[in-house]
């Protein structure tokens, strides 16, 4: 449709085809892996050993350095998944469906991390591992939404029907995301309000805040890395009967 007057640059169309996407992202992988590993390592050492302890909570607050970044990416990842699902539904783009499938287990794992670390943080600070307040319950709903998208992919033997059904579920689930964000402001919860706000300075001392920023950046890179790894693996599976994949398998790694 855009043959006479290309609206989008050439690389965009290459990204749209599974083969083009695979070849284009090949060179990104080592850089992403190294950046993610360095940021996560620096952030962990900084947060665990060098950030000062909290005046009230002592050292238990150090769990924030994985709890908050994991929760951030669990929420942002849901939008990635739902947006990919919407693009796949509207434009019938195969690659978008693959990205959506790749985002589901990654998001579920990050949600699980934030739930488990939150629980382990809750015991020494609140006095309980679990409480059914609005923030924690809506986060659990997010976990089940991710599991639902994964389950739908397994439930259908027809790939296209699976993509459609899970995209619809992902879109319906977007209603939960604003609730998670605002739950601590709208209702009485045991969970404290957000430390990092878009419009205000963070309510955290800079010595504690910088390692948190490093960890958030590290989790973002890690997310991109695993999303690409999953998508690339999915591309090879779906295109395993094509010449370029068979050639690659035979040793001529492109």
């Amino acid at each position: 449709m855009a043959r006479t007057r290309p609206l989008l640059p050439e690389w965009f169309h290459r990204l749209g085809s599974p083969k083009g996407f695979y070849q284009m992202t090949s060179s990104w992988m080592p850089w992403l892996a190294v950046t993610a590993a360095v940021l996560l390592l620096v952030g962990t050492v900084w947060g665990l050993g060098f950030a000062p302890q909290d005046a009230k909570q002592g050292n238990s607050f150090r769990i924030i350095y994985i709890h908050v970044p994991a929760a951030f990416l669990a929420l942002a990842g849901y939008y990635v998944m739902a947006a990919a699902g919407a693009i796949g539904l509207v434009w019938k783009m195969k690659l978008a469906h693959m990205v959506m499938k790749a985002a589901a287990p990654l998001g579920a794992a990050l949600t699980l991390i934030s739930l488990v670390t939150g629980s382990l943080w809750g015991k020494p600070t609140w006095g309980t591992y679990w409480v059914w307040d609005a923030r924690i319950t809506s986060m659990l709903v997010l976990f089940f939404l991710y599991l639902g998208v994964i389950a739908l992919h397994y439930a259908y033997t027809n790939g296209e029907a699976a993509s459609k059904a899970s995209a619809v579920l992902a879109l319906v689930g977007t209603a939960n995301i604003p609730i998670i964000y605002k739950s601590v402001d709208w209702w009485y919860t045991l969970h404290q309000p957000a430390t990092i706000k878009l419009t205000q300075a963070p309510s955290m001392h800079p010595d504690m805040f910088y390692p948190l920023l490093v960890m958030i950046a590290g989790f973002y890179c890690f997310y991109a890395l695993v999303l690409l790894l999953n998508t690339r693996s999915e591309i090879l599976h779906r295109e395993r009967r094509t010449r370029w994949v068979l050639d690659m398998a035979e040793g001529g790694r492109s």
């Binding site: 665990l48 050993g49 769990i63 994985i66 999953n230 690339r232 090879l236 068979l246």
Partner: protein, 77 residues
């Protein structure tokens, strides 16, 4: 500046050690699992394709057949 006087103080974390170290350990395991699964899945596929191709070359010596043989729907368990 390192916040702890000794290694044992670092491990104890002022009594919160078990919670903190368990959190970090669980996270590390999940992150490693996330990276390992797609890599292993890809490796399995590629070696299966390679095996299948070697077999085909052997069967059809003269010409190269790129048809994939019997359709097997593989799925990670």
């Amino acid at each position: 500046m390192f916040q702890f006087d000794s290694l044992s103080a670092f491990i104890a974390m002022g009594g919160h050690g078990p919670y903190i170290w368990l959190s970090y350990l669980a996270t590390a395991l999940v992150l490693l699992w996330l990276v390992a699964t797609p890599l292993l899945r890809t490796n399995r596929l590629m070696s299966a394709l390679k095996r299948q191709q070697t077999l085909q070359h052997r069967e059809s010596g003269k010409y190269q057949d790129i048809s994939p043989g019997p359709r097997t729907e593989e799925r990670s368990p």
